[in-house]
């Protein structure tokens, strides 16, 4: 090992605390990249593998009753590879010791052939005996939520008749990764289950022998999905077909997609910010660190080392620090990435997880960090190396300070000398001051962007559950009902108010942009389920015209007053043109609403309802539930309170975990910045501080002088940090906005305060560490060397 390399190793050892702090900052940046990109890749690959291995279909359609003969015609549609006809019905469940009515999605399992699409991944037990009328397989999450074991019983009302069912197996399916019940936003495994039953038994219950009520289709590669859907619709229409749809409108797939998109967006938004901030800080810190070595650099040059050799030496120094940081970051990122993958994997109930170890992720993180470190050192080296050695070996000439106020002003009477020193110091190094300010405010900013999701979610809950949808429950019907159903529901025990809702699937179009959504008819004066406009005011629907989600308006590129084309996908399928009357502030899905009377006229039907929103007297809930469980016409009951609870749980799990991880990394970065600033300031001013001690200043006074500047800068950096954080939050919010879910940007004062508290806490901690150094300052040795 050459003497220079020995120096390198010893320098690294001597500066270990700073080396560690810088490495942590780099590590923080690298780990966010590895974490975010890694977990997204892993989940994406898991999904691809799951879909592939278990034959997830491409197109789905629900029909009232289609004869089996139709299957051949479906198979002959160009582009169709495989067809899986089945009986699929929603039915109310009656589960022992469970008071709320639950909903079961019943799906038939073929008897004479193998399932070709949406195949089951059996977790326990076996498939039902085709001859049995009672045996079922349920999805694992549902079984777990109720503590069901093989052999457990529950009842269901199938086509008006209560039937006792026995669980003989638990399974998972690519079709129900994200299982959301009718009228719900979030999965609720207690109140929504998937129930697979033998074809003979289920078809028998619904009078569908030799027929099917649902079909899943796998497409050939390169097939046109739109074309297949159009032809499938044509085939199914005479049999009461509801418009077919592709994967992107399939609930489970769409939600999964949304969550993965969110992760992907996070991996594209936060890590670059982290990495950039880390790079910037490292650049700043290493620059100052190398500048401190000025005299040694001068000496090395004096005894004959070339500029290149000197530069190489210091480059090695910073690259080793960067490498340590990269090692930290890769390890932490891999660990956290696996944790997040596991977390999401559990949430989605994947049967297995594919952990992606994409090497390029590590290279991106590592490359950027190395580059940042090298540039930081390079900047400082250029300044030092260009000095003639004779000059470099002397301490830099005393910096030229200046009065910032006319000398005649008795400034000193107002402010004490230490404050004057600090202010002069700040004025003397405007660039350094600016960079330090920027660094600290960036730390505050990334904390704000890590923490703001909570505020945004609270706003979402407020608007969704307390401003817009204020009903206690939404009751969905198996079949469309006359609007008179309202009077029937009003008679149920405990019901205080009822509002009908008529939902019609439509395609809404403006220019070449088209979306398949539900159009809901709302009665005049709806008070439970209200329409909230973008200013968060409830609005009354006009006689004609649509109220559409503001997100949908944005997608279609329409404003209030513009006309949109609407294909009605039920009844007499007509295409009509309607004006947009209101844009709605909502956060889940995209939808359209209009006056119920106008919708009935448009559909050329008498007023009807697919569901009703009800408000229920809480003290009578149990009897209300009992009655519902005995109503064959009800296919599902969504409960707002439970939905909110589930939402909070899911949000807490996913978003809060991510926010916590990112906030933790941000705190580490904040500490790294402040600590390094303090340490380098100490090195830069060690002589001055020692002189002050010789003059009779106490240690505490000296420490105060050293830290005053840092404290001042830390506080000064907070307001720009908040602004920076708000800007980043806006970028995040904009990038995360999707058709399934989006948020309004809300950052509470508390979040700003918390971010600042963390940064100031990091600063205080650095101050404590530096205090030990100042107290250990060796006066003699500092003053003995150099003039």
């Amino acid at each position: 090992m050459t003497a220079l390399d020995l120096k390198l190793m010893r320098d690294l050892k001597r500066l270990w605390a700073q080396v560690l702090a810088i490495a942590l900052v780099i590590g923080g940046g690298v780990s966010t990249v590895v974490l975010a990109v890694g977990s997204h890749h892993s989940l994406d690959e898991t999904r691809i593998a799951y879909y592939e291995r278990y034959g997830f279909a491409d197109v789905f359609a629900q029909v009232r009753r289609a004869p089996n003969d139709l299957i051949h015609q479906i198979e002959e549609i160009p582009g169709v590879a495989m067809v899986e006809p089945r009986v699929a019905q929603l039915a109310l469940l009656d589960i022992p010791d469970f008071r709320e009515p639950a909903t079961g999605q019943f799906i038939s399992l073929p008897e004479k052939r193998q399932q070709v699409l949406n195949r089951l991944y059996m977790r326990s037990g076996r498939q039902p005996d085709p001859a049995s009328e009672h045996e079922v397989v349920v999805n694992e999450s549902f079984a777990k939520a109720h503590g069901f074991a093989l052999g457990s019983h529950f009842a269901a009302i199938l086509n008006g008749r209560k039937r006792d069912l026995t669980i003989v197996g638990t399974a998972m399916s690519p079709e129900f990764i994200y299982a959301v019940g009718p009228g719900d936003i979030m999965p609720d495994n207690r109140r929504y289950g998937i129930v697979w039953m033998g074809e003979r038994a289920l078809a028998g219950a619904y009078n569908l022998k030799n027929g099917f009520s649902n079909v899943a289709v796998k497409l050939l590669p390169n097939a046109s999905e739109d074309e297949v859907i159009r032809r499938l619709d044509d085939l199914l229409e005479p049999y009461g077909g509801r418009a077919a749809y592709g994967r992107k409108d399939q609930t489970s797939h769409a939600w999964l997609n949304h969550e993965l998109d969110m992760l992907n967006n996070m991996s594209r938004t936060l890590p670059p910010i982290f990495l950039l901030v880390a790079a910037f800080l490292v650049n700043l810190t290493l620059g100052r660190l190398v500048a401190l070595e000025r005299e040694q650099i001068g000496l090395l040059k004096a005894i004959g080392y070339t500029n290149r050799a000197v530069a190489g030496h210091y480059l090695k120094f910073v690259l080793i620090i960067a490498a340590i940081g990269i090692a930290f970051g890769s390890l932490a990122g891999t660990g956290l990435g696996s944790y997040v993958t596991q977390l999401f994997g559990d949430f989605f109930r994947f049967p297995f997880l594919v952990f992606s170890r994409d090497v390029s992720t590590y290279f991106i993180g590592a490359g950027l960090s190395l580059l940042a470190a090298a540039i930081g050192a390079g900047r400082a080296l250029r300044d030092v190396v260009t000095l003639p050695p004779a000059v470099a070996m002397q301490p830099p000439s005393p910096p030229r300070f200046s009065h910032f106020l006319p000398t005649s002003w008795s400034f000193n009477r107002i402010v004490r000398q230490p404050t004057v020193m600090m202010l002069r110091n700040i004025a003397r190094h405007p660039a350094r001051t600016a960079f330090t300010l920027l660094g600290i405010s960036m730390a505050t900013g990334i904390l704000v962007v890590s923490l703001f999701t909570r505020d945004t979610m609270e706003n979402l809950i407020d608007v969704t559950y307390f401003l817009a949808d204020r009903q206690d429950a939404t009751m969905s019907f198996a079949e469309r009902r006359s609007a008179n159903v309202v009077y029937q529901v009003e008679q149920l025990p405990g019901v205080l108010a009822v509002e009908p809702s008529r939902d019609v699937p439509i395609r809404i179009r403006h220019g070449s942009v088209e979306r398949r959504i539900l159009l809901s008819g709302k009665t005049k004066g709806s008070d439970l389920s209200r329409i909230i406009d973008v200013n968060l005011h409830p609005v009354v629907l006009p006689e004609d015209g649509l109220a559409i989600s503001s997100m949908l308006a944005q997608i279609l590129g329409v404003r209030i007053g513009d006309q949109v084309e609407v294909d009605l996908l039920e009844g007499q399928r007509r295409t009509v043109t309607l004006p947009v009357a209101v844009t709605v502030e909502d956060y889940f899905g995209i939808r359209a609403m209009m006056d119920a009377g106008a919708l009935a006229r448009l559909m050329r039907e008498s007023p009807a309802a697919n569901s009703v929103h009800v408000s229920v007297d809480r003290s009578l809930l149990d009897t209300f539930y009992e009655k519902i469980k005995a109503m064959p016409m009800v296919s599902g009951l969504a409960l707002q309170r439970v939905s909110l609870m589930n939402f909070r749980e899911a949000v807490a799990l996913l978003i809060t975990t991510m926010a916590t991880i990112y906030a933790g990394l941000a705190a580490i970065i904040a500490f790294g910045v402040v600590y390094n600033s303090a340490r380098i300031s100490l090195s830069e001013s060690a002589r001055d501080l020692a002189s002050l001690r010789v003059l009779g200043f106490t240690r505490a006074e000296v420490l105060r002088i050293l830290l005053l500047e840092l404290a001042f800068l830390t506080l000064l950096a907070q307001p720009p940090g908040w602004a920076f954080g708000y800007g980043l939050a806006w970028v995040m919010k904009t990038r995360l906005a999707g058709e399934l879910m989006r948020v309004r940007l809300v950052v509470e004062h508390f979040t700003y305060a918390l971010s600042s508290v963390i940064v100031i806490g990091a600063a205080l901690f650095s101050a404590l560490v530096v205090r030990k150094r100042v107290y250990a300052l060796d006066l003699v040795s500092v003053l003995k060397t150099r003039d």
Binding site: T2, A3, L4, L6, K7, R10, D11, R14, E295, Q296, L299, L300, K301, A302, I303, G304, Y305, T306, N307, A309, P388, P389, A390, V391, M393, S397, R400, S781, K784, T785, R786
Partner: protein
């Protein structure tokens, strides 16, 4: 007299610092022979340090010529000056300038690793009487010992020229003498041309010539008829 190793003609160095122009060397003429031991004397700001820096290739002259043998140092670029320093010059500074993170041995090795025909680091340290302290870090050595390490580092490459700036300035008399002994023995044993800036009268008495500086020029040259031996030196 042997051949001339340094020869300056009209050497000028002007420092510009802010609005002030400082004429550190004002057209200096000088000749130094190979193997000579020279002491530069003068008040602070008289130009001796500047001359030493230019002599050692640490700084550029503003005008004039300065020959090392047949090479005009004023015409060399940075790179060439680096190699000039590496191959021909050894430095000793007032404040030692040892690398604190390297031991005595390693500080010497720092130079021997990049020299053409160096002595072994332990050999160099033995010449200054520090063989038994060679694995100590600078912080574990006294001032005099640190300075002798600096001398060992300077001579380990067998330089033709040894340039010293106040080598005993930070030392007491006892340790100072040891440093002088080391410098003398190098000059005698290796025949190294040695140029020393010092106010130390003891060193002046062991030099061949003492050059007095004033206002950026040599005002007077005093030749010692006979050089004292190191053992005769009194502080």
């Amino acid at each position: 007299m042997s051949e001339t190793i340094f020869s300056a003609r009209g050497l000028t160095k002007v420092y510009v610092s802010g609005e002030v122009e400082v004429r550190a060397l004002a057209g200096l003429d000088l000749d130094i022979s190979n193997g000579e031991m020279i002491v530069l004397l003068g008040p602070s700001g008289s130009g001796k340090s500047t001359l030493l820096n230019i002599m050692g290739g640490l700084d550029h002259a503003t005008s004039g010529t300065f020959f090392f043998k047949d090479r005009d140092l004023t015409r060399l670029d940075d790179e060439a000056l680096t190699f000039y320093r590496r191959d021909h010059v050894g430095f000793v500074f007032q404040f030692y300038n040892l690398l604190p993170s390297l031991t005595a041995f390693e500080n010497v090795a720092l130079v021997t690793e990049i020299s053409k025909q160096p002595m072994r680091p332990d050999e160099a340290l033995a010449m200054v009487g520090l063989k038994d302290r060679m694995h100590h870090f600078p912080a574990q050595l006294s001032g005099g010992e640190q300075q002798r390490v600096a001398i060992a580092r300077a001579i380990a490459k067998r330089p033709e020229v040894l340039l010293c700036d106040e080598p005993t300035g930070a030392l007491d008399s006892k340790t100072g003498i040891k440093v002088i002994e080391a410098l003398l023995s190098v000059n005698e044993q290796l025949g190294t041309t040695t140029v020393i800036i010092t106010h130390n009268a003891a060193i002046q008495s062991v030099a061949d010539r003492v050059m007095h500086f004033a206002d950026g020029r040599i005002s007077n040259i005093q030749k010692n008829a006979s050089r004292q031996k190191a053992s005769e030196v009194t502080w």
